[in-house]
Every structure is written in C-alpha cells, then in structure tokens.
C-alpha cells in the first residue's frame, strides 16, 4: 500500500497507461528507502541524492519490465544496487567498500574518529548507523532488506540468490556481528539501552 492508500500495482498500471504524474506517488513512498540504501554506498548526501534520482528515473523507464511477481521494493532494490555499483565504478568515489579489506580500513578510520570525538554522546540512530557501517556489505545488505525494506526471508533469498534458510542464518550472524560491534565500540550506550 502507498501513502495514498492505493496498492502499488494499481498505480503502476496507471503509469503504464500514460499517467506519468502518478509516478510521484511511488517516489514519495520509496524515496527514503532508496536514499537510505544509497547512503550505505556513499557518504556524500549530494551524491546519494543524485544516485537515488537516477534509480527512480531508471525504474520509471523500465517500469514495463516489472512483472509484479515480487514486491515493487524488491525490484527497486535491485535497480538501486546496480545503479550504486556502476555510479561508484564510474566516479571512483571513496565508498563503503565492496570487499572486507576496504571495510576494515574504513572501520579503522571510523574508530580513530570516535577516539578524536572523545566521550561525545551519540544518538542511538547515529550509533547504529556507525555500527552498521562497520559490517561487511553482505551483512549490511541483509539487515537493510529485512529491517528497512520489510522483505521476507524468501524475498531476500530471491534478491541475494540464496535459499531462505541460508538467509536466516546470514541474518542471525549479521545481527550477532552488529551486537559485537556495538558492544565493542559503544559499550556505554549499549548499557544505557539495555538498562532502559
């Protein structure tokens, strides 16, 4: 369902019949989701906005290819991922790495940033984002899809080309690693949360 209360497939049918303005409803609904996913690939909000815009343009142009056998958000996620990867390849941006080695470097940088900030109080939101940024791209992807994309294990399995049981294990491990990162780097905040 959309903000306007109409199911996605009805809106898509109207767009395919030529009502271009209806696409604004889909943009309104999914812009935060896409923008958040893109921010996992690049730290610059300007770049993220440009990429997110590109995602929606691509989605619009290839809307006739959306067969409706998966959620619109699942389809949108695959466009987002490929757009991010090609954008980063083209622009050679300093990105959240696609391999663990580079993720490690980033974690080091972040860690030095934390110590420089000293005992500055961080909001839960920022803390969580920072902890997620320390995870591998695979872990981040599965958490994003499950929590931000509201995707089921089967849907995540389709995107990642994995068996739903494997996705379940991956999700479990990703949360475990997130918990470890939070305990290691934000032990005070975690204690406060647990005390709440």
């Amino acid at each position: 369902m959309t903000i306007s209360g109409q199911p996605d497939d009805q809106i898509i049918n109207r767009i395919l019949k030529g009502e271009q303005s209806e696409f604004a409803l889909l943009v309104e609904k999914y812009q935060n989701y896409v923008f958040t996913l893109v921010l996992r690939f690049t730290e610059s909000r300007e770049d993220a906005e440009e990429i997110a815009q590109d995602v929606f343009v691509k989605a619009y142009r290839s809307l006739a290819d959306f067969r409706g056998d998966s959620k619109f958000s699942t389809w949108l996620f695959t466009i987002t991922r490929t757009t991010c990867l090609s954008f980063l390849r083209k622009k050679k941006l300093d990105t959240i790495s696609l391999d663990n080695e580079r993720t490690g470097l980033r974690v080091e940088n972040r860690e030095s940033g934390f110590s420089a900030n000293g005992i500055e109080q961080k909001s839960r939101h920022a803390m969580l984002n920072q902890a997620i940024a320390m995870l591998s791209p695979d872990d981040t992807q599965v958490l994003n899809l499950f929590y931000k994309g509201d995707q089921t294990l089967e849907e995540i399995g389709k995107i990642m080309r994995l068996d739903p049981n494997t996705v379940k294990v991956k999700l479990h491990r990703a949360r475990q690693r997130l918990k470890d990162k939070m305990e290691k780097h934000f032990s005070n905040e975690v204690r406060e949360i647990l005390a709440d």
Binding site: F23, Q31, F35, T36, E49, Q53, R61, L143, R175, Q176
Partner: protein, 198 residues
C-alpha cells in the same frame, strides 16, 4: 601432569560446549523474536523465558537490538527530491517491456551458431589426435599442435570444416530471412518501428 592435562582438556571442552549452547540459545531466541519458530520450539522457549533468568536476560538483550533496528528511521532526501525526479522523467517515456522487443528466435540462432562452432572445433581437434600404443600396449592419445605448422589449406579442405561452414551459412540465411520477414510484417500491420517518428 597427566591429571592437570586432563583437567585443562575438560575445562576447554566445557568452554566450547558453553559457547555452543549460548549460540544455540541466541539462534532460538532470534527465531522466536522474528516469529519464525515452530510450535514446539515456541513452547520450549516460552517456558525457558518464564523460568530461566539467563534466557530472560539474553532475550531482553536481543530484543533491544531488534527494537533499535526496527525503530531506526530512514534517511530523508531533500524536500525537492520528488519534484526533481518528476522533472527528470518528464523527458522520458516508459520503455516497452524487454520481452516485447527481444526476439527469442534471434537468441536461439546465436545459441545454435555457437554450438555448431564449438562442435565443429571439437570434431576437428579430435580428428587431429593420433592414437598410438606405448610399451604397455595400451592406446594413448598423442596430440601436438603447433600454430606455426598448421596446414591451413588442409584445414579449409577438411570435410568437417566444410560441413561446419555450410551449416553456419544456412543458419545465417535463416536469420536474415526471419529479420526480413519481421520487418515486412511490421510494415503491413502498421506497428511502430525504430525508424518511425513518435
């Protein structure tokens, strides 16, 4: 010494066992939180949570992480974002579905072409193997191909290669025929083609 060694071994074993138990407990609790447990697991976990403080504290810990992840707000782009996207797409139209303009026969044609090519090469190279018997009396393939010493005139006169080229020519003609036929039909039916104005 031996007793001490055995004690260390048993201590290490108990740590591994405890870690394994912890992991299993976490796995079960995560499934319970996600609503993925089966009925029997659900009953067991509920009982543990009611009676066992270790399970309860682990549940609270995992639940708090789950809630943070669930409550996490999504990032928002600028207020002009939707307007920007709509301005951008105003210059485009929805492209026709890929399945409508990709001719499966063309793909099949390409597949057949490559299959014939690979089969032809395979037959040719198998034809180059000279079977020779070694001292044990077994037949072993002796094969050597020096690119400089390849007799290309022999290669082109080879029956297999002629057959291979013949098949490819036929496939090529079929493809051209299909293409021309498609164009002709599109013209008769008044369908939109790439060259037409919008």
């Amino acid at each position: 010494m031996r007793i001490k060694g055995e004690q260390n071994h048993s201590f290490g074993h108990s740590i591994i066992k405890r870690n394994f138990m912890d992991q299993e407990m976490e796995k079960l609790i995560w499934e319970y939180i996600d609503g993925l447990s089966n009925e029997s697991d659900k009953t067991i976990i509920t009982k543990h949570l009611a009676e066992d403080s270790v399970w309860r504290s682990k549940y609270n810990e995992l639940m708090s992480i789950h809630e943070i992840l669930q409550k996490e707000e999504l990032e928002m782009p600028s207020l002009r974002f939707t307007k920007n996207v709509m301005e951008e797409i105003a210059q485009f139209h929805v492209a026709p579905a890929t399945k409508n303009y990709i001719n499966k026969n063309v793909i099949r044609g390409f597949m057949a072409f490559f299959l014939v090519m690979i089969s032809g090469l395979f037959i040719y190279f198998v034809g180059q193997i000279h079977w020779s018997s070694n001292s044990t009396g077994k037949l072993l393939p002796a094969y050597s191909l020096n690119a400089n010493k390849v007799n290309w005139s022999l290669l082109l006169n080879n029956t297999y290669v002629n057959i291979f080229i013949g098949i490819n020519v036929i496939l090529g003609l079929i493809l051209i025929d299909k293409y021309m036929q498609g164009k002709k039909n599109a013209g008769h039916n008044g369908h939109w083609t790439k060259g037409d104005s919008a």
